[in-house]
């Protein structure tokens, strides 16, 4: 396994061997990111493919000021957002009433598997899905999300709030199913 520096250098020269190595190293992690932003496996694979084409195309511009994985993840998220924007254009986000979040603290995800959590995120409406990913998992704030998606801060907040409510309902429903099964 080559070092990160060697990988970057090899990819910058267009060496297919290093490109393959970089892909093997980061593709599994990035596929999970793509899955969180998409509705199906096929859509996630398309995003992953497009992202890695961009990565190999633009790696010459990578300044090595940050870690490679963050640079790659940013490209993957941006590519996913571009896919998401198309859906948002079809189904624009609207403001919904912000909900009281105090009750969420009692919810635990420990009993749920990753696959189930992923399914819950994918089942969210497109706007909620994107904003929940950006805010809760990637860690962007609402101002940054509003800039990225060209929406108002209020819309970002309300969509996030709606996502939490929907996820809480899904978790409760899942726990209920587990409880009945036991």
């Amino acid at each position: 396994m080559s070092s990160e520096k060697a990988l970057i250098s090899g990819c910058k020269e267009g060496d297919r061997k290093y490109q393959r190595e970089l892909y093997d190293l980061y593709a599994p992690k990035m596929l999970m990111v793509c899955m969180r932003y998409s509705k199906s496996d096929q859509e996630a694979e398309d995003i992953l493919q497009e992202s890695f084409i961009k990565i190999f195309d633009h790696i010459k511009n990578f300044k090595e000021e940050s870690r490679l994985i963050y640079w790659i993840k940013r490209i993957v998220v941006n590519t996913a957002l571009n896919h998401g924007r198309r859906k948002l254009y079809m189904f624009p986000m609207v403001d919904v009433n912000e909900l009281d979040q105090s009750q969420d603290n009692e919810v635990s995800l420990s009993t749920l598997q990753l696959k189930e959590l992923l399914k819950m995120i994918q089942d969210l409406p497109s706007g909620c899905q994107i904003i929940f990913n950006l805010y809760a998992i990637e860690g962007y704030n609402h101002n940054e999300i509003a800039d990225m998606l060209e929406i108002s801060v209020g819309t970002s907040k309300s969509q996030y709030s709606r996502a939490r409510q929907l996820l809480r309902e899904m978790i409760e429903k899942e726990e209920l199913t587990y409880g009945n099964a036991r």
Partner: protein, 474 residues
């Protein structure tokens, strides 16, 4: 960054190191797309040469068009001028013998030698027509006022040429040079006193006609006549030359006339699945040939067959290279042979699907071009428009994979032995002394016959930019 609470933290930690193995086919697609992207960068680079070739050919056509237009205009208008001269002289002397008009009918050139000859000839004619035995007057006997009038007009024409004026201004006061004035006007009074002092009545009549004649038209017609004289000062009189040349350029190997699909898979053709020995889950993919580059090296001989026309021929070695990607290889002992097309798959015994690799295809031809050229500009700088055909004889095709594990092999399968291509280009030359010329030659080479004998009709267009060095034999 935001300030998520416990709920968000749980989600973040759940997905923090989450992974999912991707489908192997994704890498194949990524690899193919990256290879295509590299090719498109090459295409952008050769776009410069394409644009340069196209622009220079357009420029040459424009120059040629203007040149031909001017030439046709001059020819037509010279006829008008000659007719006007003849008409004037015939009016001056209806009974004048054609032999007496040989000077007037003759095309006057601006060459100093020719003007001198013309002057001498004119004067000797004057003497013969009016012999001067006493040396006082050369026009005592036999002077005919009509001939005198014609001679006067001829001399005025000469004076005009010497002064660089047009015919129309010969009668004006623009003849400033004292010697020329003497030549133009003084001759009438000193050399032809009879004519100066005894103008016949018919001359008055002629002058009246001349005054009524629209000289403005003649003046306009005379302008290109001088232009024509200037253009005839050709720098190069070389008739035969030999040259060495090198061309480089690019082309689209698919010729733009085939499917836009960038790759083929087994479903595209009937493939015997038993041929595959690999248990790989990857599907076989063979990319179309792309990234066409061509280098031609050759020598040529040319001959000028007319003042503005040349023909040239020669012999050229052509090397064309293309690349494509494939993940199918033929296993031959310990080495691999690249499989780059449908024919390769259908004929191979042991096929294996491996990681995608790049294939270098090299085609070699011997070419005999035959071109005709029209010389647009032939001075220190020369410009020639060239067109013709090239007879390309296929020699061999070499196929090699990118890594050392691949065994290079030659093939001639699916390729026409003979290809005919059309050539169109321009040659921008610069004379180095009397015997050498260097030239830049952008040209377009269009396949006329199909390069392959398979079902697909491939007629690529080549954009080439070349350099020629010529030795001018005589």
């Amino acid at each position: 960054m935001g300030t998520p609470d416990k709920f968000d933290d749980q989600w973040r930690s759940a997905f923090e190191d989450a992974e999912m193995p991707p489908n192997p086919a994704i890498w194949d697609k990524v690899e193919l797309a990256v290879a295509n992207s590299a090719n498109s960068k090459f295409k952008r680079r050769i776009l410069f040469f394409k644009l340069m070739a196209a622009a220079s050919i357009a420029f040459a056509f424009t120059i040629a068009g203007v040149g031909i237009y001017r030439e046709l205009s001059v020819e037509g208008e010279n006829k008008v001028v000659n007719k006007t001269d003849n008409a004037l002289e015939k009016k001056a002397n209806p009974g004048l013998d054609e032999s007496n008009l040989n000077i007037a009918d003759r095309e006057v050139t601006s060459s100093p030698n020719e003007k001198e000859n013309y002057q001498t000839h004119l004067e000797s004619n004057d003497i013969s027509e009016s012999p001067d035995t006493n040396g006082k007057s050369r026009n005592t006997e036999g002077f005919d006022g009509k001939n005198g009038n014609i001679n006067t007009i001829k001399k005025e024409v000469l004076a005009t040429i010497d002064n660089g004026n047009t015919f129309g201004t010969a009668n004006s006061k623009s003849v400033n040079d004292a010697s020329d004035q003497k030549q133009a006007h003084g001759m009438v009074s000193s050399e032809f006193p009879a004519a100066a002092g005894n103008i016949p009545e018919k001359l008055d009549k002629l002058m009246t006609e001349l005054e009524s004649f629209s000289f403005n038209d003649s003046e306009i017609h005379m302008v290109p006549w001088y232009g024509a004289v200037a253009r005839n000062t050709r720098v190069s009189d070389n008739r035969i030359w030999a040259g060495l040349g090198m061309f480089g350029g690019g082309f689209n190997p698919t010729g733009g006339g085939v499917s836009s699909e960038s790759s083929v898979s087994p479903s595209s053709f009937s493939l015997n699945e038993d041929s595959f020995t690999s248990e790989s889950t990857q599907s076989p993919l063979i990319g179309k040939e792309e990234n066409g580059r061509t280098i031609n090296i050759g020598m040529n001989l040319g001959v000028r067959i007319a003042p503005k026309w040349i023909i040239q021929s020669g012999i050229v070695l052509i090397d064309r290279n293309t690349t494509n990607t494939s993940n199918v290889a033929e296993v031959s002992g310990r080495s691999l042979r690249a499989v780059n097309d449908f024919n390769g798959i259908s004929n191979a015994a042991n096929l294996s699907v491996i990681d995608a690799y790049e294939i270098d295809n090299s085609y070699r031809f011997i070419s005999v071009p035959i071109q005709a050229g029209y010389i647009i500009l032939d001075k220190k700088l020369s410009l020639t428009l060239l067109g013709g055909v090239s007879n390309d004889l296929f020699i061999r095709k070499t196929v090699d994979g990118e890594s050392v594990n691949f065994q290079e092999f030659n093939s001639s399968e699916g390729i026409n032995r003979y290809n005919l291509t059309g050539l169109l280009g321009t040659e921008f030359g610069y004379h180095l002394g009397n015997h050498y010329l260097i030239a830049l030659t952008p040209q377009i080479r269009q396949s006329i016959s199909a390069t392959t004998i398979s079902g697909e009709t491939v007629r690529p267009t080549f954009f080439e930019f070349g350099f020629r060095f010529k030795y001018l034999l005589k």
